[in-house]
Structures are given as structure tokens and as C-alpha cells.
Amino acid sequence: MTRYSALNLLREAGRLHSGWPEAWSSRDPKTSYDVIIVGGGGHGLATAYYLAKVHKISRIAVLEKGWIGGGNTGRNTTIIRSNYLWDESAHLYDFSLRLYEGLSKDLNFNIMLSQRGVINLAHTENEMREIQRRVNSIRLNGIDSEILTPEEIKHFVPIINLSNKCRYPILGGSIQQRGGVARHDAVAWGFARAASKLGVDIIENCEVEGFLISNGQVHGVNTNRGIIKSNKVGLVVSGHAGVLAERAGFRLPIESKPLQALVSEPLKPFFNVVLMSGKVHVYLSQSDRGELVMGAGTDSYNSYSQNGSFQVIEQMMASSIELFPVLSRLKVMRMWGGIVDVCPDASPIIGFSPLKNLYLNCGWGTGGFKATPGSGYVFAHTIAHEEPHDLAAPFSLKRFSSGALIDEHGAAAVAH
């Protein structure tokens, strides 16, 4: 596989780019593997990559029912941050952010990480106190976070509406300078290419229809491309974790809901941070192409249809106009939905399933993209050593019966 470098770019330019090999090879499944990863999104590919790179496991397959990066990895709003309230989340998400910081070099693939800063706004006195508490807690975990006054926010975002005559005036906020955005497709493609280079079989258009189970142990999967055997199967799916768990004969504390996002027509560059507001409820950033990328909360009902209700989009736009009245004539170019698997405490499930040899990394809800490399790293450790990585241990399925929940609803800097 050709390394991406300035030298190779020059050489290929000389022969009109005719010699680039495919970034990863899409394989036909073999009959058995050491580890099967179900789900070829960012988290699944990252798991396979770290299994091969860190744990030197050689026979790994990633089964993807559609195509690489076609699910929620390519549907999110690309925000990366680690300003979480609770210790367990802060440690996991900041570990992931640190991996992101070296990821382009590690993968030899430019993921276009832009640490432009993530600002959270406060619109009420209570929210301001909450933000102060959160900033203190985050700093105690060694993660950068600062309080901003309205004037300081204006410095970052000159067109923001600071009027105190609006329904939800801006009283202040916080910023995580290391937060930002990355190109989501590139994260999937980069992990796929790097994993493929280490010998991982990436098998697209391969849907898992059932599991081979005897005596409470999983021995492989039944797919639309035949039976594939393995004594370790990792379930790394979003949107359909509950459906796959049902095929394996157990339930998960997960409900699947649509989460919508949209992009506007392209504008000249006018703000270079990520802005989030839990009160008027929108999060937005400007892409390299000038489009505003916006997201908000999930729809309230369960769904598997990848589209939600229009009033959610309307509320998201109304919120944006509250913050930026100048956007009132902005046109929307595209809107879409993805199905997110939400746990009751808005934290993921990483670790063992009720079946032996079947491991879970799912339920990432509305915020999985920022965790992609960290999630893959700790899950690869969990599968390879058959015991949870220290950072993953609090996120076990057992927490729902032990009561040790990691309640990030509202605590995670934005409502879910």
C-alpha cells in the first residue's frame, strides 16, 4: 500500500495520478476468524485497527451491512470535545481526544482535525452556575476548560446576538479550546485503510442475520454471505444494537430514536468555533466549505426510519436565528437523520454481554463520533484480554442492575 506523502504525491502527479492503489480492499469472507467485529463504522474499524496494531491479532474481520462510513459515522455533526461532567466520561472522552490529536499521523490519513474551540452558552443564571460547576469539575480532571463572559464570546463570534432584550439572553459560557471538529468520513476511511494495511478483512454488504450459539457461548455469525465462525464476536453497531441483541436472544436497555442534522447553503467564513446551546438547543459550526452544520436533540419517539419530524428541524432553525438574527434568510441545503441508540443514562455500553464470547460496544446515543478512537482502543483491549480496559470498566451492562449509572443527561454540556 502506497504511503501518503509529499514525495508520493509528486510522483503520482507526474503520471497523472494513475498509480494510486485502492485505500482498502473489500474482501469476501473466509470461513473463520480470530475476531469478528459486527459493524463497519468508525468505532468498529477503530476496534479492528487497535486489535491488529496493539494486540497483534492477525485474523480479524469487520462485517458491514452497507458500505464503510455509510451509517452514523457519516451522519453526525463532526464535533469533538471532552468537557464531560462525570469522571468516568471525562477520562474516556479525553483519552479519545488525545488519540484524535495524533490520529492523522498514526493513520497516515489526514482527518482534518481542527481544534477551533467548543463554546457552551448559558442563558439563565442557573445555567451559568451549572457551567461554573462543570468547568471546575472538568479542570479537576486535568482537562482544559474556561469560563467566558459575553464580551469574550463576542470576541470569538462577532455576529452573535448579545442583546438582553431577547427571550434567552446570553449570560456567559465556557470554552474547551482543544475541542473542535474533524472530517468524519476521513476518520472512517483512515481507520479502514490502516486496518486493511494490517491485514484486517473489511467485508462490505454483509449483514449479520443471526448468531451461532450453544451452551450460552457464541461461536460465529450467520450472514447473508454465509456462516462465519469465530470465538470472539464484537457488536459495534449503532441504530440496530437492539435488533441484533434480539437476534442473539437478549435485551439491551436501549431505545432507538432519530437524530436529525442539516447543512445550510455555503457562506463566507464568519465564525470559527463550535457553538452549543442547551437552552435554545442547537449546536452549530461552519464547515470548510462554508456551510453551517447544525444539530439538536433527538425526536421523542422510537424509530428506525432515518428521518424525523419537521418541528424538530424548525426548532433547531429558530434557535440558530435566536443566536444569530443575521441568519434569518439562510437557506437550508440538505437535512437528514440517523438512528441513535440511547441508553437511559446517555452513556454507552462497553464490555461483556449476557453471552460468553460476545462483546458489546454500543449505545453511544447522540455523541459517539468524538469517542471513535478511544472507544476502539478500550474495546480492542477488552476483547483481547477478556477483561474490560480500566477506562471502559464503569460502562458495563451490569451498571443498570447495580445502580452505578453514569448519568450524562444534561450533565454532558448539552441536552440529549
Partner: protein, 92 residues
Amino acid sequence: MLLIPCPWCGLRAESEFSSGGEANISRPYVNNDLSDNDWADYLFYRKNPKGWHQEQWHHVKGCRRWFNVERHTVTHEIRKSWPMNSSSDSND
């Protein structure tokens, strides 16, 4: 936006309602025999079917009454709605 048939008010826009999740959940009798797993099942485990789903809705900006709905989670089609504790509750 969904059009939801309130049993008392007829078809109304989804924005008048709030979703209450899975229908027909009954609180287990709490005594020493109730295991942590059973309690977790009641608190946190919900049906999440890809297909027909019985769920509860609250007409919060209308008559303010709760009722049950059977809705398809892929097509969003609603095939019936009925007041809680009525005979339709036994339908599966």
C-alpha cells in the same frame, strides 16, 4: 410530523403531544424477593422493536389525557389508538 389520533380530540399534530415510551408497563411489587435484575428490567429495559410498537402518548397541549397508540417504527404508520385501561390493552 406525525398526525396522532387522540381518542378524545381526533387527529392532531405531533407538536401537541409528548411521547411517553413503551405502553403497558406495570410496576412490580417491591419486596425482598424482587431481584436487582427484575428491578432494572422495570426501570431501564424497554421494548425497542423494528416494526409495530405499542406506546403511550400524552396530549399535553390539548385535553391533557394519556392514551396508547400502536405505531410502526419504520413507516411511522399509526394503526390504532385507545384510552388506557380499556379492553384494547390486551391486544398484542
